[in-house]
Point group: C2
Chain length 330, copies 2
């Protein structure tokens, strides 16, 4: 069953609608966690979102992927200057409403339906909650807003011609970083080439990962033709050339395992235990051939039957800690 | 056990050595098959190759991947004008010999060891065989050539820092095609964008493939987050924008299945039977979760137990025929 959300865009509505996403920092500037930012990771594919900006709801969107770690979009420019650079990007496919809806006009009906805590607008005055970003709303609020408007509801159905796949979105995020690397005069040209090859797990990075971790710990496969050199801390959020090329920041994985790891559906404890996200489908894991992950997730999570792969090197631990806290969809 | 080969480079030695590959057309200009061109698909990872040009052997190389379908390298320029455009590219990691070897000087020993048929040089006169390209040689010929020369034999060992993976090579081949598309003034800009998105199985191409073939026929997975829209006839060798964007030229596959199919380790009959290359390792298939392919390959190839997936649409047949004859490593 989909859940229902309401986003208060602040000054970045245009960028987020055109770009087909939502973006929030991971935390407040002070480092404090925010319920509204935490909701970014709670939204799931198929959930529906109302877009609120300038006191109007002009779009409704469908979440197409779980959020993933991404730097602040450069197109925010000055509008996003206040926020931390590290954040969550949530792909959302938007479609416009005709006519747009002014929630304040429906306050008599909406007020009693809105949550007491973390409401996107004040249930009594109708004023936007300045602190809110992505707020959870009951289905009834969603239904009231959309009761008398037209929109292309095919757009909200799974499938269609929507191409906001995780892959497409992460490619475009990576492109931005590659462009930055390509034009950074402080990087030597041979390093630049290695950094760009590392984006796709090739070149110097791959050779170094192979030296640390020559076979896939999920399948035991050691044939290099079948293995991808995957970054533990993703290439696009690495903070330096050293991190992007560090063999300790990599694992050799088969393509299926690479996708699950890259996407945050699995992660690892330092001693090698496999962690499985409760958000990934049981039957899908079985079909991908990871029968043991199914047991992990649904059978023996706390038992000694946990799937333990070989332990990691000490120098891999900090990258794994990043993956567990920032990439893994817990 | 590795096999041993000898290549007569003709005029493209520089390009092939620098580029770390061999390239031949698929057939003679007349369309006739050539033993020397067919050998391109017989060479296997780990095989060793002597590079002969200007009457000298100056390099020895290790084959790093099976050959795959690729257009004639643009860097051949006028030197390759005579050859057909469609060919095989075989990734080879070369290392130089000190000093180079002149086979004619060793003819007394080499002559009796060279094959009667399809020899790279005339066993009696020592003259290069003008018709030869990649010729099979006995290990003894290889040993005689390398008996008194020095070279870095680490380079010939599997692993090392060699980054000539299938993925890296196909990326660079795709880059050439993308560059051509990007600068082709006859293509409209919206089509150009779709064509470039199609390279990575995104955008319009992906949406069309999903409409034809919504789930992975190897695993049954239908969750779009776990599926890749793979071209049947590879993107880089398509002959038109229509072929690159044709939903009938695609399959939705999980990442492991995509790699096996893309790499030519599996293919399909029109009615849906899975074909498995005898060149792919049995234990690897099992570890990837394709237990049934192991049986296919080694158990019941001719029996009614053949793995039959759902049949293909008529309009997919011509692309499948291409895949079976040109991509599948039979």
């Amino acid at each position: 069953m989909p859940e229902f959300w309401w986003v208060n865009h602040n000054q970045t509505a245009r960028q987020e609608i055109e770009g087909q996403y939502l973006w929030s920092p991971k935390t407040e500037r002070s480092g404090a966690r925010s319920e509204f930012y935490n909701n970014m990771r709670r939204a799931s594919p198929g959930d529906l979102v109302l877009s609120y900006a300038g006191q109007m709801i002009r779009y409704v969107g469908r979440v197409t992927e779980f959020a993933f770690a991404a730097f602040k979009p450069t197109e925010f420019g000055a509008a996003g200057a206040y926020w931390n650079n590290e954040g969550w990007l949530l792909p959302v496919f938007w479609t416009s409403l005709t006519p747009p809806v002014r929630p304040r006009d429906l306050l008599e009906v909406l007020g009693p339906l809105l949550p007491e805590k973390y409401s996107p607008i004040n249930p009594r005055s109708g004023a936007g909650n300045q602190k809110a970003y992505l707020a959870r709303i009951p289905e009834s609020v969603f239904d009231v807003i959309l009761a008398n408007v037209e929109y292309d509801d095919n757009m909200l159905v799974d499938g269609g011609s929507n191409s906001l796949t995780y892959y497409a979105v992460s490619e475009s995020l990576d492109d931005v970083v590659e462009e930055r690397i390509s034009t950074d005069p402080s990087i030597e040209s041979t390093t630049r080439e290695s950094l760009i090859q590392a984006r796709r797990g090739q070149g110097k990075f791959r050779a170094r990962v192979q030296a640390v971790d020559g076979s896939c710990r999920m399948t035991g496969i050691s044939n290099p033709s079948l293995l991808i050199a995957s970054h533990i801390k993703p290439w696009r959020v690495c903070e330096s050339s050293e991190e992007r090329l560090d063999g300790m920041n990599g694992l050799m994985l088969t393509p299926d395992a690479d996708l699950l790891f890259d996407r945050g559906f699995i992660s690892f404890e330092d001693r090698g235990d496999v962690l499985v996200s409760p958000r990934v489908d049981r039957e899908d894991l079985r079909r991908l051939g990871f029968e043991q992950l199914v047991w992990e997730q649904f059978g023996y999570a706390e038992s000694p039957d946990v799937w333990q792969t070989r332990g990691f090197e000490f120098l891999q631990h900090r990258y794994l800690a990043y993956h567990r806290s920032e990439i893994f969809v817990a």
